[in-house]
Amino acid sequence: MTAAMAQDLPESIAALIDQPQYDETGDFPVERGYIWTSCASVENGNPLYWDDEVAASLTGGPIAAPSMLSTWFRPHHWAPGLETQKLPLQVHFDLKEQLGLPEAVMSDNTTIFYEPVRPGDVLRTCQRLRSVSGEKHTKLGTGRFWVIDVEYRNQRGDLVGVESWTGFGYRRGATT
């Protein structure tokens, strides 16, 4: 879903459209334990992830399942000295707060996969707000749709993937 751009958007939010935000490096290198945990969670027996010979033959060594892209950027639940927990897709939570919309759901996701992610890679990411709609009334409540892209690169600068999320921030019980 694309969110048509609102004309009534606060200037502070309109100024963020297409701008890179939250340029961050992952908290930890990509590692095989998580790759196997992910495959196990959906009973994915693809030998590319379990058989080193297959991985060597097809991909020049082990790679992460492409669908794990966002996994490498979910923050630790706790870390020393961390006073407030970091949130994944921070732009989404910023919009909720700035627009006074306490509830939110994610509806659509498109992920495009480029260079494979490999164990040992340390990924970088940035988020870009692409659009925010005018107020809409849905069965959940009244609010706005927004689209946020998340770009992922490896330590060599190669693009490894782009996620595009559509979110809907809303106030409950405000349908008309």
């Binding site: 969670s41 959906v42 994610m106 996969f113 260079e115």
Partner: protein, 161 residues
Amino acid sequence: MTATITGLTLADVAVGDELPELRYEVSATTIVVGALATRDSRPQHHDFQFATERNGLKNIFLSSPNQLAWFERYLTDWTGPTGRLGRLSFRMTESVYPGDTMVFTATVAAVDTDDVDCGWVEVEIALRVGTTTCTICKGRIAVPVTPDDNPWARRGERWQP
């Protein structure tokens, strides 16, 4: 020793083909393990009271990133390891809860080669519980054009997902 690798080639696929159905009984463990695997500690995926009393849902539910992993597994079960995902798009309309039986079905919507001779298959997938369609997904996956082709070997301009 050389690994034996088998998988679909483009000639094996035609528009209108249906993928084998995948059925899976979802438990609370499925939901929690899926959230853990994607490092998702949000309470709606593990805390029954939060999900029901705070969010007004009937139970904890399958997370979006884990659904992505289910779609990947479903597609590569079909293509074999030589299948390389280019793009996945999905829209969730209903949640998947413990006790549900997920049923994945899919139809091939397009088969072609691009400007750099990469073979692509586009698939429309539905994740249903009973008669309810919970998520629809479109997948674009590269498969070998010939038995000795390897989509994973493509880089840079030779990979146009």
